[in-house]
Amino acid sequence: MVALLVQGPMFYKIAKSISILVILVSIYFAIAGGRFFPFSDYPMYRAARKTSALAAIVVHFEDGSKAFAKRPYLRPFNRLHLHQMIYTTSLLELPPEEKYRWLDFFIKERILKYEKNVQAVSLEKVEFPAHFSDDSEIDKSVLRTIYKRNVSDL
């Protein structure tokens, strides 16, 4: 009975019409844009490809040293996702503590689990190409501090 229903000419006619409709809708979205086909059009690229500056997370230690956020801190994101996060949240009309509330998640769930003696974590605007594996280059690369969160305030 079920086999008849899904193999029968009526099912096929309906399925065919739905398929044509799906294709027409995808053509509409292809032309109209939007999030349906966002390839190559991510906000992170839109902003970043026009300038030579990016946003990055920097960890400040109690002894005064600094380090760029490393991959284990960010998983499953990468640094570019973080740039996107900082960039897009910076556009929100909210007080900084509200805008960058997600940073607390990274500090508590990631950075403090991997690092000891962390004093603060900051969001910095940096110039690229920056040597993100070489922490001695931080002071040369940082253009401006966007937001700084002391670990003692968490």
Binding site: A3, V6, Q7, Y12, A15, K16, I18, S19, V22, I23, S26, I27, F29, A30, I31, G33, R35, F37, P38, F39, S40, D41, Y42, M44, Y45, R46, A48, R49, K50, T51, S52, L54, A56, K70, R71, P76, F77, N78, R79, L80, H81, H83, Q84, M85, T88, T89, L92, R101, W102, F105, E109, F128, P129, A130, F132, S133
Partner: protein, 295 residues
């Protein structure tokens, strides 16, 4: 062997297509990775505000796990042709829910985004592909060969039109958002540079970085690559009309995506599933015939 291959009916060829599609689907999806995204449930505020996700879909870790297993088992059944139609829909629905749930966590969905609609086409349109256990176990009746071939051709053509729409949309999106600046500015150079910022160097072979650095040092080559990218994407619809165009466009799109992996370290491997509908083994002619007028 070749003779046997050539005598295969379209239905059996579609069966090979099905086995390849769902076999590779199982290989490419990394559901355990996907399930790990449930750890990020605390980030809802950020996600809804910045990613433009308008819906609320927050599944627990065990629910995501269940969906992931349903998808995996469905794909195995679809590959073997057991409860085929049901398996197609199980894969389609579970995969859609998993991705809709993950969309708010990360942009990694660029890998899977174009797979949903081909999965829907399998569920709606494929009742004829060969090499199914269903036919052995339930002894289901076959349709007349002509009708079967018509249905398979329509199914393959739908996949091809969707393929073309996806690439045409990417080309158009570039021109719509940035115009010719996408090609004739430092945009491509910046994007190549950005990828060094995104990931650690250890994730890809060293020579990928060497190629990336060489390209950044040659802005004219970056402009040429940007031009070729937009050119080939905008011309994608040609693949539907002529055999030569089909070979040219599909081959260059494959090259483009391999090039993106080598120079920008972005892996588009799951997209190769949507290329399968162009395989010569299907022996389906270009989707639309253009009538030529002889003068």
């Amino acid at each position: 062997m070749i003779k046997t291959w050539n005598t295969l009916s379209l239905s059996h060829r579609a069966g090979v297509f099905r086995i390849l599609f769902f076999g590779l689907f199982l290989y490419f999806i990394k559901f355990f990775y996907l399930v790990s995204f449930s750890n990020f449930s605390q980030m809802d505020v950020y996600c809804s505000e910045t990613m433009g996700v308008w819906y609320y879909l927050d599944l627990s870790r065990s629910q995501l796990s269940l969906l992931a297993w349903a998808c995996i088992i469905g794909a195995v059944f679809a590959c073997a042709g057991l409860f085929t139609r049901l398996s197609y829909f199980v894969v389609f629905i579970s995969f859609l829910l998993l991705n809709a749930c993950a969309l708010k966590y990360c942009y990694f969905n660029h890998l899977y985004m174009p797979l949903h609609i081909p999965l829907l086409f399998w569920g709606l349109l494929d009742g004829q592909s060969g090499y199914r256990l269903d036919r052995l176990i339930f002894k289901t009746k076959k349709l007349p060969e002509d009708e079967e071939n018509k249905r398979i051709e329509f199914f393959v053509k739908c996949n091809r039109v969707f393929f073309v729409v996806v690439f045409f949309a990417t080309g158009l999106a570039k021109l719509k958002t940035s115009g010719f600046n996408w090609i004739f500015s430092d945009s491509m150079m910046h994007m190549l540079n950005l990828q060094n910022f995104a990931s650690d160097r250890t994730l890809v072979p060293d020579f990928f970085h060497d190629i990336n650095s060489w390209l950044i040092a040659n802005p004219m080559i970056c402009i040429a690559l940007a031009f070729m990218t937009v050119f080939i994407e905008i011309l994608a619809p040609i693949a539907l009309f002529s055999h030569r165009g089909m070979k040219f466009i599909v081959f260059h799109l494959v090259l483009m995506q391999i090039g993106i992996y080598v120079t920008m370290y972005i892996n588009f491997f799951p997209w190769f599933l949507i290329y399968l509908c162009w395989l010569p083994l299907l022996k389906v002619e270009p989707t639309f015939k253009v009538k030529t007028i002889k003068l």
